[in-house]
Symmetry: C2
Subunit: 394 residues, 2 copies
């Protein structure tokens, strides 16, 4: 997932000040989280941020599930020096599509991540060193169990809505099936009930890039001066291509050269075309903020997710849900193409659940739900959907 393709809204975060990094320690001994694999993990630190005010009846909570490489910093700024606001700042805030004057928004870094929530780069209490490859295998269900534990910790019983795109959408689907009593509405963007073979294939290439970097050292690279940045950057480069539509990179870059109009006839140059330069830049920026072991862990969690397999069929899974649904796909998204969203919608209809579906037109491919220019269209669906859900529950 990338927010770098278009410039993010640079307006100030909110009139009521800066957003605060918060964290909670959950699953402390003797009550660790029992993972889907059967292993246990604890304690688990969860990094999260909140926006707006929890209503006295605690009925205005919206939980945001971030995508593969996102984090808890979904909107606003931590301080005035912060260059860029949170990754969905154009969508969440006072008066915005998810209006923090009305709703209390929670976003947490997911389990296995590397932005404050326990993951492979966190300290293993048994060794005093980072978990590294000893970090247990996790699934989307484990990630969602931690979201629910954070709600418990915050004293929140039910949420008005859970919202997520891509891997975040998978968390939403798992959540409403696994803890149906807790969720009023589910908003699933650019996602699917399972990853298809092509998606698994691209993830496999990314992981291979990391594994084959000699600096990866079987995952024990934390104490080293040099980290497997070549491999991780390469994984990001290939993933990044899948986040963009063919149309959008053709329009933005086409065959334009990085320097001048003449070919260099130099095989040593890796950035002769602008699209190359852009991908290298994305790869190099990514390694500054992301951990290779987290990338392995979370892409595998994505591969494993299969709602239908876990519950017999997707319709069987949905027979448990109580939420209403808003499902949105993008016509140029080829990583989670529209037929995958339609599979969700058909199963919801079969299970006689309330669902609204829309395929939005966009040039931006999978990343469209993160692109500022595309947010008004998305907001025009999400905002009234949330308002209706809220008023229907009064």
């Amino acid at each position: 997932m990338s927010t770098d393709f278009a410039e993010t809204d640079s307006s100030s975060s909110s009139p009521d000040g800066f957003v605060e990094r918060q964290s909670a320690t959950l699953f402390a001994p003797p009550s660790p989280l029992v993972l889907e694999s059967g292993e246990t993990l604890g304690p688990i630190t969860v990094a999260y941020q909140t926006y707006g005010t929890l209503s006295p009846r605690k009925d205005n909570v919206i939980y945001i599930c971030h995508a593969l490489t996102g984090d808890a910093h979904v909107a606003g700024r931590h301080n005035e020096k912060e260059r860029k606001p949170g990754w969905w700042n154009g969508f969440i805030g006072p008066g915005k599509a998810i209006d923090t004057n009305r709703y209390f928004v929670v976003c947490s870094n997911i389990l296995g991540g590397c932005q404050g929530t326990t993951g492979p780069s966190s300290e293993n209490p048994q060794t005093g060193k980072p978990y590294g490859p000893d970090f247990p295998f996790i699934t989307i269900r484990d990630i969602v169990n931690v979201h629910n534990a954070l709600l418990d910790h915050l004293g929140i019983e039910n949420v008005l809505a859970v919202v997520g795109g891509s891997l975040g959408g998978m968390q939403v689907l798992e959540w409403v099936v696994n803890r149906p009593e807790r969720v009023g509405a589910a908003i699933v963007l650019a996602s699917g009930p399972k990853l298809n073979a092509q998606g698994i294939a691209f993830n496999a290439v990314g992981r291979r890039a990391i594994y084959s970097d000699p600096l990866f050292q079987d995952g024990w690279y934390y104490g080293e001066e040099e980290k497997p940045h070549f491999g991780l950057a390469l994984a990001r480069m290939v993933a990044h291509i899948t986040y963009l539509s063919e149309q959008s990179i053709e329009l933005k870059f086409g065959r334009k050269l990085q320097n001048g109009d003449e070919f260099g006839f130099d095989l040593k140059s890796e950035t002769e075309f602008q699209i190359e330069s852009y991908l290298h830049y994305q790869g190099n920026r990514f390694v500054e903020r992301f951990d290779a072991n987290s990338y392995l862990t979370l892409t595998r969690a994505m591969d494993y997710f299969d709602l239908g397999e876990a519950y017999g069929s997707i319709a069987d899974a949905f027979s448990r849900v109580q939420s209403r649904f808003l499902v949105i796909s993008y016509d140029t998204d080829w990583l989670y193409p529209t037929p995958q969203s339609k599979e969700i919608v058909r199963a919801l209809v079969d299970a006689k659940r309330h669902v609204t579906f829309k395929e939005l037109k966009s040039a931006y491919g999978h990343d469209a739900f993160l692109i500022d220019q595309e947010l008004p269209k998305l907001g025009s669906l999400v905002s009234p959907f949330l308002a209706r859900t809220y008023s229907d529950r009064q």
Copy 2:
């Protein structure tokens, strides 16, 4: 390009015996090839194979231009022990779509390759060692100039048709524009007048994989026991995904696991899903037959190709051609999608040239022109087109 997705026709090559590896040495001093970059290269050895019999009037020649990782061994077997026949054996042979009872077929390994024609792994006569990264930068035009020099060497003035898919199709386009007097008909399969940004992006990822393999050693790995096989295999894995359609890998592999029905919850396994195992297998097989420096050289030649840029516009380029055209695309090809073929066709129409266009339906994506099951459909277009061209020229 891959011929491994479906089993290749295993019928014997031809009733009249085995095919012979041939080679010619061209551009010997003092007459080296002047490359598009301005550099010179010579002597150049060309590995080629021929099928059928050259007619007394030398008017039945069909030249096959292979794709990125193909070779001169286009059909038949070299001996009875050879496990697999040439890469287009289902298409070329006695009584087949390109009927070697009627036509004299020539296929040569392209300049910069690694299957007998001079390329980076060939001996540099100035040093007595492989060229390695000292091999000059080459373009599609240089490749086609060597094809033409081979024709001269064989004493052949004109060809009935040049045929090629993918990178081979680019050679066909360059050929008919650059040496229009020599070609009766052009058959362009699953190709385009230029590589789009997404194609350049995937090539850039493949090259990055090679460059970042420490065993690559700036291209000077030939004397070493270990070669940059991790990088080259990774480049092949990502390219291979682009050769297949989403639909075909979903049908063949979907989410099937390699061993049993149960997840292993083991992050160390890189081949838990069948699609992963398949890609790793493809990568590992590829490095047995291909050279990393050739991969860099030829993908860059592909990136550089831009027929319109070189001649003002594609229609301007085509104002020079004398051939008739058969242009074929595949509906599930997303590497060279149908609009790219249509761009060729529109320019030919604008230039008032004779063109037949067909988008074939296939599940197999870009590789469809190489897949045995798809050859009857392709043959039903190619075979009469060749026959008409031949009879019209009598």
